[in-house]
Amino acid sequence: MSSLRGAAAITGIGETALGHLPGSNVMDLCAESARLCIEDAGIDKDQVDGLIAFGSRVEDHTRFQALLAEHLGMPAKHYTDVTKTGGASSASAVRTAASLIATGQCDNVMIVFADNLSSGLGPDGIIPIFAAHHHLEYELPFGPLIISLYALVARRLMIEYGWTPEQVAHAAVAARQWAALNPKAALRDTPITVADVMASRPITTPLRRADCSLISDGGAALLVSRADHARGGRKKPVYLLGAGSMFSYYYIHNLPNFTDYLIDLGAESANRAKDIARLGNKDMDMAFLGDPVSWCVPANLASMGFCNIRDAAEFVASGAIAPGGSLPVNTHGGNLACAHPGTPGQTLPIIEAVRQLRGEAGARQQKKANTAMVHGQAGVLTSHCTLVLGTEDTL
C-alpha cells in the first residue's frame, strides 16, 4: 500500500465556467474541461493513456467513457471506466488513477466529470430524478427529498450529540465568505449571517434553504501522471501522498445507526489515507470536503479527524473554517456557495486544493499551502474516499 505515496501527481486541472449555462450540453462541458486540463498540463492529448468518467444524470450512455473518448479524439488507452460512487467518485477516480500508475499500467490518466443539472433539467427536473435514488417501494412513496435523508441523520446528531441548527449554520456562512473571494462562485456577492440562514424557509427540517447546496452546470477534469514524468511538466506537480475509502449500505434501513456508524466509516477512509501519507491532522494546511448540505461540513470534519463528533458543530461555529480561521475549508466556496453540478461538484474541491498547493488561488490563496486533505462523500455519509495531497516538499 505504501507504494502509492508519491507515485503519482496531479499535473493538470480543467474547470469550465460554472453556474447556469443555458444551451450547454454534457459532451461539450466534458470536452471543454478536458481541453483546459490538457492545456494546463502542457502535454499532447495522445499521451493520455487512461480515461475515467462518471457519466451524466442528463445524458447518460452505456459505455459513456468510450463515447467520451470518441468525442475527445482520444481513442487509444490502456484503461477506461466509469466510477459510480456518487460524490466519492472524484476522489475515488484519483485513487484509481494513481493505483494504475503505481502498478505501471498507465502513465497519464485523465478524469473528466461534467453535467448540466441546472440548464439541462432545472430544480423541477432534477428533484424527481434524484428521488429515484430512494427505494421506490419503501422510501419514495412517503415523499422524502433526497436531502431528507441528510435531515434524518441531522436529527440524530441533534439528539445524541446536541448539534444545533444555529451552530451548523456557520458552515453555510463560512462557505459564502470563501465564495466572496472566488470570482467563479455563484454566491460570491450574497454574504449571509447565521440569522439569515435561520430565517430562510424550511425545506426538510432541520434543513433550511440556506443549508442546501446549489444546482449548477459545469465540468471538471484532472490529469494524474507518473511522478517521475510530472517533474518536467508545465505546472508544479501536486502529489498524491495517501488515499483511503470506505463504502457501505445503500438505503438507510440497515444502517446500524445514523451517527457514530456513519462518522466512523468516514474516519476509517481518512485514517487509511493519513497512514499511507504518514501525516496527521496537525500536518494538514487545509481541508476540502463534499457539502451538499451544511450538516455534511461538521460530519465530514469529524470523520477526517479535525474534531470529534461531540465537538464538530461547535468547531464549525467557532469560526475555525472561515477565512482567517485555523483550518481553511473549501476555499472555493463548496457546493453550498460555489457550484454543485452533480458529480463534478466534488471534483471542484480537488481542483481548488491543487490551485492552493500550486499557489494559484488568487485572493483566497493561503500562505501555508503544502498539504491538503480532500474528503469525498456520498450516499448520505455511506460512501467515503479521502485523498492526502502535498507539494514536492512533502515527499
Binding site: L136, R155, I252, H253
Partner: protein, 151 residues
C-alpha cells in the same frame, strides 16, 4: 427524461399500486408485503433457513442468502428513531398536506423502516416515542401503512 414518477396507472396489473401522485411498481418477491397491507398486516421478511429478520424485502436472505419469501406479522408497535418535516414536496403532485412528516421507526421486531407519521405535529415529537402502525385505504383501493402516536 422518464423518471419512476412517470409510471402509468394500470388497474389490471396487480403489481402496480396507484397511490395518486405516483405508482409503486412492486417487486414480485415483495408481493407478500403489499398483500399484507391489504389485510392490515405489516409483514416483515424472515428467513426459514437461518432465522434472520430483516427489512426491506429482498429476493434472498441478507444473512445466509437462502431464497426469501417467508415472513412474520409485526405486532405493530414501534418507536420513533428519526423524523423530518418536509415543506417542499418531492414533486408538486404529492397529495400530502404540507408539511408532512417523514419518519424512520424501529419496529418491536428490531427492523427499521421509513413511513409517514400522521395525526401529529413536529413539535410533539420526541426521540423514542411509542408509535403504532395503521393502514389507510386510498381512492384507488391501494392500502398503505402509516404510523401514529401510540395511545
Amino acid at each position: 427524461m422518464k423518471t419512476p414518477l412517470d409510471v402509468e396507472a394500470d388497474p389490471t396489473d396487480p403489481d402496480i399500486i396507484d397511490i395518486g401522485w405516483m405508482r409503486i411498481v412492486t417487486s414480485p418477491y415483495a408481493r407478500f408485503f403489499w398483500e399484507g397491507c391489504k389485510k392490515h398486516e405489516l409483514r416483515i421478511p424472515k428467513c426459514n433457513a437461518c432465522g434472520n429478520v430483516w427489512f426491506y424485502p429482498t429476493p434472498r436472505c441478507t444473512k445466509c442468502l437462502a431464497p426469501a419469501g417467508d415472513w412474520i406479522v409485526s405486532c405493530g408497535d414501534a418507536t420513533l428513531y428519526s423524523w423530518t418535516a418536509v415543506y417542499r414536496p418531492v414533486v408538486e403532485a404529492v397529495s400530502k398536506t404540507l408539511p408532512y412528516l417523514v419518519v424512520v421507526v424501529e419496529m418491536a421486531e428490531g427492523v427499521r423502516m421509513m413511513a409517514n407519521l400522521e395525526g401529529a405535529k413536529e413539535e410533539q415529537l420526541r426521540d423514542g416515542m411509542p408509535l403504532r402502525v395503521g393502514f389507510k385505504e386510498l381512492p384507488s383501493g391501494a392500502v398503505m401503512p402509516y404510523f401514529s402516536l401510540a395511545g
